[in-house]
Symmetry: C2
Subunit: 151 residues, 2 copies
Amino acid sequence: MAAMTQIDTINALRLMQSADELRARLSGAFAAVHGLSVNEYFLLKQLNHAPGNRLPRVELAKRMHVSASTITRMVAPMEKIGLVDRETGARDARLALVVLTKAGAGKLKDAEATFAMHAGYIFEDRWTQSEREQFSELLNRLVAGTPASLT
Amino acid sequence: MAAMTQIDTINALRLMQSADELRARLSGAFAAVHGLSVNEYFLLKQLNHAPGNRLPRVELAKRMHVSASTITRMVAPMEKIGLVDRETGARDARLALVVLTKAGAGKLKDAEATFAMHAGYIFEDRWTQSEREQFSELLNRLVAGTPASLT
DNA sequence: GCAGAACGCTTGCATATGCAAGCAATACGC
DNA sequence: GCGTATTGCTTGCATATGCAAGCGTTCTGC
């Protein structure tokens, strides 16, 4: 048990450090190439993954681990440049759905290519194909079932 | 090759989402129990891991993937409450070393327990011991050799 | 049905962070 | 050695984000 705690601690550390490094790389690339922040990319991706390409703000907040006010403020400029639209909930007038537009889907597609490229850089020459699959399976158990999961 | 890019993309996504979730959990726990932010915890941990328990600000910035000004502003209150000290570089007067104090080391030790606890929660009942070791080995190849690595 | 609780969204304020400019110290080219 | 470039740190300004309060809508207990 003590041994498991020890390795869990190391794994959690390495997990966070790897993610931090990847985020730092992506941050620069997205800003330069697409004028997007990493969080804006994830927001578009959540919408694209959702049924009907739309989600209430509160649901976006939960999935992205940010506050509702952050969503309000992130969405405003994205709406202004046409990446998303606003739509009032049909059954519940409290809901202000964020809807992915054609333009937003196009921007997302471009950004996916950048993401894939940098993901490739990170893992390149470090793992075999079989190890990549092991890693995928292990991580899947951490994120599967959560509403935030994009895969 | 296309298949490898595909799985790399999925792995990068899951990596970032797992880390985000862990960070969100830790953020609340550290704030409530120790009055620390996650980044302050990592700063203390970097100092503790460094030879002589001290590092120049610029080195902390690189390892933590933040700007130098962020380090300046993070360190100020930590110095005020005695977690760290300031020391001018002996051979290079430009350097303003951040030094871990006894109090800082004590606080870090408390925080490590909280970290370990939540790391345990995250992985609990999801992976076998052997899978934990595989995961550790795979992640190690991502972070090993980087100055930021704490393990 | 109605009153109060709960929910979804927005906004004011406080904090956190990056970038660029500025300052002091060191390194480099000659 | 000297002048210039580089480096390390700090600070002003702009942006990003969380929390709490406020407002409108829906749900719940009765």
